[in-house]
Amino acid sequence: MRIGVVTFPGANSDVDALNAVAVAGVDAVTLWHESTDLQGVSAVILPGGFAYGDYIRAGVIARFSPVMRGVSGFAAAGGPVLGICNGFQVLAEAGLVPGALLRNRSLRFACRLVAIKPERLDSPFTRAASGQPIHIPIAHGEGCYYADEATLDELERAGQVLFRYVREDGTPALDPDEPANPNGSLRAIAGVCNAAGNVAGLMPHPERMAESILGSDDGMQLIRSVVESAREWEAAGRPAATAPAKAEAR
């Protein structure tokens, strides 16, 4: 089984994703942006970076690249897809996950450790998570999650909110101006998934905190989740995705 990491020109965290997948003990392959062929991988990671320079708006050009046609087909067929940082922005621009990523409220690029907490542990992207706050870095200028109120309500109702930024005590940093909410994301949303549950976007970087030598391997919980989901999806004969069960009432 292999996991694919897309390399757009200007992607720079592809090396981090490839490294983390390798640390998780799985073969990782690079998927070149000009090819629609996903080389039979069992999961796809869209990495961080500045695809095509992101001079206009993050992800707005990448969504039109050939590889994204392949990724859309892969997602429609139920394959697990995780977009991290710029990858999340690309998925949002492509409409594969709901919502949009606006400029950070500070109007500045922000890089520091943040705490996020999975909203549910039964998703393909959180199944190996402990449920405790996960400390991993952010590194983005456009990470402020936005959707209209109705959409936000629906996302929460349908259990599509996968991660929220949390305070030290583990409670969600709902105030867009509080320090624990690093970019002003509405309802402290750090990660979401599509209705079918097999495509997820996440602003912080689990792949950059997946080895204890780097300070923590918290991020490995999420990488391992993707690996397990890919294995299971492969073993089950690549079934179409089914909508996730509703999240527990919060």
Binding site: P9, G10, N12, S13, V15, D16, N19, A20, G48, G49, F50, Y52, G53, D54, Y55, S106, L107, R108, F109, A110, C111, R112, P137, A139, G141, H205, E207, R208, M209, A210, E211, I213, L214, G215
Partner: protein, 805 residues
């Protein structure tokens, strides 16, 4: 920018038109020398090429005689001064490349692009050697942080460094931010880059093999950055002069990212024989230096150079400093493969010339035929011996005389209350410590480095903010440790000592992690070398740097000289910025500054010496700079660094911190704040409590260790001829330092002072002041519903003046 109008421009010379050579920054004397080299008058194109190549920036014509005296030999050095970057072996078939460079004047004219292209330029120096850039450090210096224009510069430069480094995917892991009035009109932006390479990848900036193709790839050539090296970097200037705008280049980090990948693939696959980036001096510099190094010449086809805009004159094309361009030589049979690589990465590439045997840089219009000769009907528009432009460029032996008057520089933005907050004047030393930690130069830099991606590439072990940066080397047990340090305040009083202190502190900050410094790279920021006083400062600094490196047994692997750092007649404080990279063979032995364990012993290595001049305390107290700065014993410094590496190697040390800015009290406070652990200490005071607590005499360390290891540390220290004293233990949520001995209260009272007999303060208070100090000084402290930013209105900048509250 209305702020620009607040700066009164310097008149641009006499009204009548200057002769062409002077307009290009070439003196009459230099023109005569050019005639001598050519045996005739240069034409416009040739004169333009000479003007950039003989500029201070490209030729080092003033500093070359001094730099020759530096120790440049060291174990494992594969490349050094004269190459794009120093390269040193680290074992296992790997090597590290590193170099620091300035982009001062461009940043003063256009802070965002100036800083951004500064990052881009130094990164190219690294991957041009065959190394993958793995880290950036930025050493920044500005004037008064409460000044609105300074705030614009700080904001623009920080955004520029981040905007480029973040996009290109190289983490910014460390650096410096210093405020001093002398930088008011002339900020310093020094950027250091580090790269990692397999030894087999090393490639030099040469154009070997007559008949080989010369290819230009990367961005197209435009009018941006014309005269950057000659007009902007090599002359004093008025930063409000709009005519200088076009001399600042515009950066494209996306193009640079592609250039990195393409260049490293070309080198890895052995498709190119030599490669050189186009920086200062553009294609004139890249072609002449590459040819000169290889003892060849280059025939250039001007028409083949891809343009960004129509109607460019030949001389503009030849000296354009458009960014993100590379010049390479390849065998004709490899050209198709070279082309394929560049096109796959979406990079324009053009065959622009041939390597020749005649040793000349020759430029033709009208094309070059398949035979490598100019087409019939082609006209030669320039021909200059490569060495006349490069290795045999003019050298000036400048006059050096010591200055007659000394400069006094109290740091800006100091809270008024601190004027009275001195032990000698009867106030609580804790108040002084708090004032120091909150001061613009000692407070936390998190506002800056949190705008930089510090963790891309998954190598960052030690993030910015707590001492030297630490990067693991994937696939090994090794780690690289890097730092930049420059002491401008002592340099202003004694440039020789200031340079020594800069080398000592930078290498010490590497040694206290357990790593062995591999070499230093240096960025020498000084004034107009045509002024004997400024040139004397440079001369003294090079002497001091050389003596320090010899004493410590560390080679100078390269560097950069930035002169003409003056504004409206005032020179900056001489600033020797030292970058160091160290190697830690076993990362499991890494030691960091923060305390680690409640109950550990705190041991002070070395003893204080008098001399407060140039210290943060002196600036805070507004003390006269006429007091002497502390002296540096290089032999003891060498012993200190050997000792701490030995102690760490033996596993005796839990944490190690050096005593520098703000003195012992600040050093210990940082160990506490960064760990969340307090300390209960007793400090013997022989002379002045202020000197003991806040003096910055070098050669001291604060170590912590398991109590049972403390005696072994003290013994080892004595074996290295160093004093060692156990001060107390780690623990609690306060920092308490009792002052004992006749120097404390007793002697102080005799001097009519009422010194508290202890420094006692809660960590929470230290942490708060330290965290917010910079934001206060820059007027960034976020008010509710108010978007922070240095460019914000006076309403918020008023905060900075209320810091005593």
């Amino acid at each position: 920018m209305s702020d620009v109008t607040t700066i009164s421009p310097t008149p641009e010379g006499p009204p009548q038109p200057e002769p062409l050579h002077r307009q290009l920054g070439v003196t009459d004397e230099e023109l005569a020398a050019i005639r001598g080299k050519l045996g005739r008058d240069p034409n416009h194109v040739e004169l333009a090429m000479f003007s950039v190549m003989w500029s201070e920036h490209c030729s080092y014509k003033s500093s070359k005689p001094l730099l020759k005296t530096l120790p440049t030999r060291g174990n494992g050095m594969m490349a050094g001064p004269g190459d794009n970057a120093g390269v040193v072996r680290i074992g296992g078939g790997l090597a590290v490349a590193f170099k620091i460079e300035s982009h001062n004047h461009p940043s003063a004219v256009e802070p965002y692009q100036g800083a951004a292209t500064g990052v881009g330029g130094i990164l190219r120096d690294i991957f041009t050697m065959g190394a993958r850039p793995i880290a950036v450090l930025d050493a920044l210096r500005f004037g008064d942080p409460t000044d609105p224009r300074t705030r614009l510069l700080v904001d623009g430069v920080v955004r520029g460094v981040g905007g480029y480094g973040n996009c290109v995917g190289v983490p910014t892991v460390g650096g410096e931010l210093v405020f001093d009035p002398s930088y008011q009109g002339n900020p310093l932006v020094n950027v250091m880059a580090i790269g990692l390479l397999e030894e087999r990848m090393l490639i030099l900036a040469e154009a070997p093999g007559p008949g080989n193709y010369v290819v230009l790839f990367g961005s197209t050539t435009g009018r941006d950055g014309i005269g950057g090296a000659s007009v902007l970097a090599s002359a004093t200037f008025a930063d409000s002069d709009p005519n200088k705008r076009p001399t600042v280049q515009v950066g494209d980090p996306f193009a640079e990212k592609l250039l990195i990948e393409a260049s490293l693939e070309l080198i890895d696959r052995r498709l190119v024989e030599g490669i050189q980036d186009l920086g200062a001096g553009g294609i004139s510099c890249a072609s002449s230096e590459s040819a000169d190094k290889a003892g060849t010449g280059i025939l250039l086809d001007l028409d083949a150079i891809p343009r960004r805009e129509p109607g460019m004159a030949a001389w503009e094309v030849m000296i354009s400093e458009s960014q993100e361009r590379m010049l390479a030589t390849c065998r004709p049979e490899n050209y198709p493969a070279v082309r394929e690589v560049c096109e796959r990465w979406g990079i324009p590439i053009a065959l622009v010339g041939r390597v020749t045997i005649d040793g000349d840089i020759a430029i033709v219009e009208g094309g070059i035929g398949p035979d490598g000769l100019p087409n019939s009907g082609a006209t030669e528009i320039a021909r200059i011996p490569a060495k006349a432009l490069a290795s045999e460029a003019i050298v000036h032996y400048r006059l050096a005389t010591p200055p007659t008057r000394r400069r006094q520089a109290p740091a800006p933005g100091i809270p008024l209350t601190a004027q009275d907050g001195l032990p000698e004047r009867g106030m609580d030393p804790a108040a002084v410590l708090v004032a120091l930690l909150g001061s613009p130069n000692l407070s936390s830099r998190h506002w800056v480095y949190e705008q930089y991606d510090a963790c891309v590439q998954s190598n960052t072990v030690e993030w910015p903010g707590h001492g030297a940066a630490v990067l693991r080397v994937k696939g090994t047990r090794k780690a690289l440790v890097a730092t930049t340090d420059g002491n401008q305040s002592v340099s202003a009083l004694d440039p020789y000592l200031g340079a020594q202190l800069s080398v000592a502190e930078a290498t010490r900050n590497v040694s206290i992690t357990g790593a062995r410094p591999l070499g230093i790279t240096n960025c020498l920021n000084y004034g107009n070398p045509e002024r004997p006083e400024a040139f004397w400062q440079l001369q003294e600094a090079v002497r001091g740097m050389g003596d320090a490196c010899r004493a410590l047994g560390i080679p100078v692997t390269g560097g950069n000289v930035s002169l003409y750092n003056e504004y409206q007649g005032g020179a900056i404080a001489p600033t020797p910025e030292i970058g160091v990279v160290g190697l830690l063979d076993d990362i499991s032995l890494l030691v960091r500054p923060p305390f680690t364990t409640e109950g550990d012993s705190v041991v002070l290595i070395g003893h204080s010496a008098p001399g407060m001049a140039g210290s943060a305390y002196a600036a805070l107290a507004g003390l006269s700079s006429e007091d002497a700065p502390p002296t540096l014993d290089l032999d003891r410094e060498a012993a200190l660094q050997s000792f701490v590496r030995e102690a760490i190697g033996r596993g005796l040390v839990a944490s190690a911190q050096d005593v520098s800015g703000g003195g012992l009290a600040v050093a210990i406070a940082e160990c506490c704040m960064w760990s969340g652990l307090g300390a209960r200490l007793r400090l013997g005071v022989s002379g002045s409590p202020a000197i003991e607590l806040f003096g910055e005499s070098p050669g001291r360390l604060v170590l912590s260790s398991r109590p049972r290891h403390a005696p072994a540390i003290e013994l080892l220290a004595r074996q290295f001829g160093l004093t060692a004293e156990t001060l107390g233990t780690v623990g609690g949520d306060r920092l308490r330092i009792e002052l004992t001995g006749q120097g404390a209260t007793g002697a102080a009272e005799e001097r009519g002072s009422r010194v508290a007999d202890a420094l006692d303060v809660a960590l929470a208070d230290l942490r708060h002041t330290w965290d917010h100090g910079l934001a206060h000084a820059l007027g960034l402290e976020p008010a509710p519903g108010h978007e922070p930013g240095p460019a914000s209105e006076p309403a918020s900048s008023g905060i900075a003046t209320d810091r005593g509250d």
